[in-house]
């Protein structure tokens, strides 16, 4: 009997926590589907009286969301690709090769991990100005081509691969970059997926840096576009704002939903001997 009560209490607590997390998401979706007349009511309406699909069309047409969307996808994809290449190569060297200065470089990577990204903005801005890259895709991508976080995370995952596997692979004529490609990356897949998801969310949602380095509307990304949309077009059209917010949040939610089993597994694995 005691156990049953315990179970009920546990589930109740979990349900409340889940509701707290899901509530804003639910409100976002419901508000995006409401006609403007239903946004402000004396008592909150949990379901739209009438579903207004036009909100999405109006929001989409209210600003250059198509362009922002393409920019966001392109910039985020380029950043993720470059980060994966640089991080896995650096992690490979730091985890599996001995060379003079390895300890110092690792220390520098960990140091870079501790420094808040905003601290680097001024130096990056001036550098890009010298390159003449401001207000271009290069300015959005280049500062994030390498990632201390990714390097450190992958190094830890690569360290966990036993040396005997590398010896065996070597006798099978698989060395160097081929070993990275055929062994380290597949064996570290949960970590790779987790890193990609974290980096995806960070760069998809990034607001501060793109705001600083872009002036032209054609190269702006979704978060900037959304902010512009709010300030210029629809200060009071909350249903359109919610619909536009879904353009930004939706893709990340979908990717996360599709890959969550890897994400969760990687966190579970972090504490266990593989």
């Amino acid at each position: 009997m005691k156990r049953v009560v315990g179970r009920i209490l546990l589930y109740a607590a979990v349900l409340i926590a889940a509701a707290l997390v899901a509530m804003p998401m639910y409100w976002l979706v419901v508000s995006a589907l409401k006609p403007s007349s239903e946004i402000f009511t004396a008592t909150p309406r949990w379901l739209p009286g009438r579903i207004e699909w036009r909100n999405f069309v109006n929001a989409w047409e209210g600003a250059a969301f198509g362009r922002y969307f393409i920019n966001s996808v392109g910039v985020t994809a380029a950043i993720l690709f470059l980060q994966l290449v640089t991080s896995s190569l650096a992690a490979f060297a730091l985890a599996r090769r001995r060379f003079v200065g390895r300890g110092f470089i690792l220390f520098a990577v960990i140091g870079a991990l501790i420094i808040p990204i905003q601290v680097t903005f001024l130096a990056n801005f001036i550098t890009l100005q010298h390159f003449g890259w401001l207000d271009s895709y290069g300015a959005l991508i280049a500062p994030f081509a390498a990632s201390a976080f990714g390097t450190f995370l992958l190094r830890q995952a690569f360290l966990a691969v036993p040396d005997a596997i590398e010896d065996a692979a070597r006798l099978d004529r698989c060395t160097g970059l081929a070993f990275l490609w055929h062994f380290l990356l597949p064996l570290a897949r949960p970590t790779v997926v987790a890193f990609v998801l974290v980096a995806l969310v960070a760069h998809w949602n990034d607001y501060f840096w793109p705001l600083i380095v872009t002036n032209r509307d054609q190269i702006r990304t979704l978060p900037i576009g959304l902010a512009m949309f709010v300030s210029q077009e629809v200060t009071t059209d909350w249903n359109l704002l919610m619909a536009a917010t879904l353009f930004v949040a939706g893709p990340v939610l979908i990717v996360f939903f599709l890959t969550q089993r890897y994400f969760i597994r990687s966190h579970v694995n972090a504490g266990l001997k593989r």
Binding site: A164, A168, L171, D172
Partner: protein, 379 residues
Amino acid sequence: MGKVALALAGIAKAHGSNAVVRGLDLEIFEGEFFVLLGPSGCGKTTLLRMVAGLSDPDSGRIALGGSDVTSVPAEARNIAMVFQDYALYPHMTVRNNLAFGLKRHRVPRDQIGGRIERVARMLAIEQLLDRKPHQLSGGQQQRVALGRAIVREPLLFLMDEPLSNLDAQVRANTRAELKELQHRLGVTTLYVTHDQVEAMTLADRLAVMNLGRLEQVGRPLDVYRLPATLFVAQFLSSPRLNLLAGEIAGGTVRTPVAVFPTGGASGPGGPVQVGIRPEWLRFSPDPVAGSLPLDVALIEPLGAEVLVHARWPDGELVARVAVDGKLPDRGKVWIDAAASRLDLFDADGRRIGSTPGDAEPSNPREISPPLQPAAARGA
């Protein structure tokens, strides 16, 4: 024996100031099953890794099939290795574990399938080809590791204690299969172990290694019969070798418990170390002239044999006796010096008398003890 498949000359390796392999020479012949036997830390795995090319010797040359490969990287030596913990590729199926090395060696794709099927049949792992390593038992993983080496058809197999992670029953079966398989394939094999039974049963020839040096190289029974050093005698003895301090004087060896005939071993006289294998020590229930009475302290039945522990105030001796032989009762026994066989070593642990060079005895009875020792029978 035919051509030399692997030749090591003056191989030395140190980790820091710690010399692991000290100037070692060795020749292994084509098709031979050669076992490196030694305690852990004796340098045998280090030596194996240098042969594989996974680590570089500080000095010395390694020749494979007549050509010097000392500076050839591991991936270009055409050697296959079975690792102690198998080192199977965890993210690949058994089939891909076998195929990977073939693909990397640019074996034509249409041949890969056939070679895998053939090896899988040979090792009875056909049903496992689509499984991943973590879905296999230890014995199955061991077979896959073996298969991965065989399918490559290399010049040389290296095996680093491949049976040590198996439980006793599986290990005994696999041991027998391994020997049969190696003879069938005829691939030169260098096998490292610390298990003397494995070494005795598997080897065409073996080398006993200690502190980075080879103590003795020879056929298993020759090494067993005529250990070149006290270390070899002790390492190949189970249970432990009986060791007595003795003195040679006029055709006899005088020890605290008995006076033994030297059996032809001649020396300048003076102090010697006397080693008597448990299976070559004979006790008599009746008093023997020149022998001290010993108290039977413990009798351990092993099945077909028993171990008889007998004590005197300064030590203990162990004899391994067949059950059908005459069992001493608990009480007093005497050493039957004339029926026991001993090995004599000088103060540095080197054998005195008949040298391993004359390892092939003209009449085996000469050196066999009255009761055939178990290890010789089993071998």
